[in-house]
Amino acid sequence: MNVIRAIQLYIDKMITDAGPGMKMLMMDGETISIVSMAFAQSEMLQKEVFLFERIDSARSNERLKYLKCIVFIRPTRDNVLRLQRELRSPKYGSYYINFSNIIPRTDIKALAESDESESVREVKEIYADYLPVNPNLFSLHIPTCLQALNWNPDALERSTQGLVSVLLSFKFRPAIRFRAGSTVAQTLAKKVHETINKETALFSFRPPEDGAAPPLLLILDRRDDPITPLLNQWTYQAMVHELLTIKKQRVELSGVSGVPKDLKEVVLSTEQDEFYANNLYANFGEIATTIKVLMDEYQKKAHDQRKIESIADMKNFVETYPQFRKMSGTVTKHLVLISELSVQVGRQQLFEVSELEQEIACRADHSTQLQRVKRLVADGKLGAVNALRLVLLYAMRYERHANCDTLGLLKLLQERGGRSHIVPRMLEYISTVARQELFNTVKITDAVKLTRNLIKELKGVENVYAQHECVLKGTLEEVVKGRPLDAQYPIMGNEVPFRRPPAEVIVFIIGGATYEEALAVHRYNQEGCRIVLGGTTIHNSGSFIEEVLAATTGVPFKHSRSLQQFHQAPAGSA
């Protein structure tokens, strides 16, 4: 179950079905990202696609009748209108139209009526409507999806369409479970369920044989686990995203000093970069070792290249030179990234900050932690972002504690010029379930959970920076072991719930997923499960804070009345 492969198969078929000859690809803003994340431009050129254009850009009026135009767009109203305009005065010889999701018949009719020159050869739907980030991770690139703690209607529409296209590209007709108590999860589950029932022709797959459970679509809410996006990460992909922000597989390095000009923007793709693919989940220490190995290999190759003495050597050199160039590009890129990461770690004192974060997230030791937080927040060298992070974690954990001193910390933060108004917002954002389970304010009566907690306390910890376990891990444990989920994850529709664990699971987190959760999913996949994770976007702490701000606009402050004075944003800052 590889989402990148699914998109690649679709795009490959789309292009080969257009036949031989010179082709060009016309896309809109979103599908161009989808295609660029699945294929490199050189691979497209190999398939005879020589020109890439956007349907919404102003184009020159040259007629290129010898080109076949493959159109790949999302089925929105605007796109259909633009396509109609294009078909009325066609610039290309023939058109092969592919929509990335279900398109209503009325739009097809409108297109047919505007095709007066009979240049359309194909009209198809291929369900490639999501961004494949990793083989087991997809995103819909919706930066903020909630407003006033409820769905933003456009985001709801896009999420439903994205989920339906994931299901269709794997040919699943799943059992849908959503998080109990979360209205947004229930709404999305209902919409997906309605779409599946409406499009019975599309969803009529062979049911799984010999009584195996149907695949599971699990819809979760980010509000149940607000801690995971805030923590500092130490695995390669997550760390780069947290410190440098990966946006659609690209990293902007223009702010970094000492970077050669052609590395201002760097592409990080598992398909084209083998080192990256192997080290996605390697932690910071392991990375240093592997890059040293890579460097040694590169040096050895460079050394070999110098010894050109005979014609055979020259021939060898010319043949292996492109590989060598590619390798040198990869090595430079990763060296720059890793050195920048080290610089940031030092500058922001991430070792200390991260250790404290993990402590607050995993253990309840109020007085020492409060002392340390106070010290670090007051410390001038620590960045405002990290100070804010620590205060947020403290405020969430010790909200109900007797000696909670969030007020004092917020005062300190405000003196430093930090964005203290975010803290009350965050307290509104976290759901009641998160309050109860994450921070143990409700007594745990379940024997299994009690013993598990006890064992965790006794065992101690091997890596202080990786002790936090995201909530998703526990959920997946229950799903994989086949434990009954009806209490917390009711099923949508009136299907009889299966007793056996599902063979395939798709998890969707409304409000965004994180790379740490992708790592948990990866570990389960290595043990033989087939799980794919997706979210409305992929968060790092910055984007998560933006999401919280957007989601809580207009929400009355119920949980943070005591922090009244910090509710308003200070003048001049967001």
């Binding site: 097809i108 369900y127 990793n134 390697a282």
Partner: protein
């Protein structure tokens, strides 16, 4: 096309049961078929993935044929994958070996563990393409009547022209009768103004009928 090997190979029939693809001659006519063909029904499936899906679905009784087909593709895939990976792994192994005896033995471990971690190198992950939906039939059903409207009008006029020119008598009366019989002429009393210049008819401006469509002009 004359096939010099036609007689010899025709007796053996299709090649070894496992392949089902590449060149083999048909039975009766010595025509050479090429491509990814199903050995049982000889239909052209164009790609290896579609071939295996076709055999699975249509010829599910022939289990050993299916197995040998899959084996061939997996061997080919492994061969291609290992060729690409052999060189870096060889050099890495030889480099990290002296290091391993040194400080940390984790020099070799990352490479072995790395390929375990690489989600793309999981073996045997052949994936089928997802759903598709084709709307071309509906599209054509809407488009063609519109186009035919223009096409059929033009065709009608062309056919009329043909009929008029065919067997037209030489004398003016006969000609007029012939023309009026092929194309209905509009009654001249109904048309007061010329359709193209909008001027009225009179002694100086007389009505003329178009021979092909029958309407009136000056």
């Amino acid at each position: 096309m004359a096939n010099p090997f036609g007689d010899a190979m025709g007796d053996e029939g299709p090649a070894a049961s496992g392949s089902g693809s590449f060149v083999h001659s048909a039975d009766s006519d010595s025509e050479i078929l090429e491509g990814f063909l199903c050995p049982i029904c000889k239909s052209d499936l164009r790609t290896p993935e579609r071939l295996t899906v076709h055999v699975e679905q249509e010829h599910s009784e022939e289990q050993d044929l299916l197995k040998s087909l899959k084996e061939i593709f997996s061997f080919a895939k492994q061969g291609i994958l290992s060729k690409g990976k052999k060189k870096p792994h060889d050099s890495q192994a030889s480099d990290s070996a002296p290091q391993a005896r040194g400080a940390d033995s984790s020099g070799i471990c990352p490479t072995a563990a790395a390929s375990l971690n690489n989600p793309l190198l999981q073996p045997g992950n052949w994936q089928a393409i997802g759903c598709e939906c084709d709307h071309l039939a509906y599209f054509k059903a809407v488009r063609n009547p519109r186009l035919e409207r223009y096409a059929s009008e033009t065709n009608k006029l062309i056919i009329r022209l043909d009929k008029l020119l065919d067997g037209c008598p030489a004398d003016p009366d006969g000609k007029k009768r012939h023309e009026q019989s092929k194309v209905p002429w509009i009654d001249g009393r109904l048309v007061k103004l010329c359709p193209s210049c909008a001027k009225s008819f009179g002694i100086t401006r007389r009505q003329h009928h178009c021979r092909v469509c029958g309407s009136v002009m000056c």
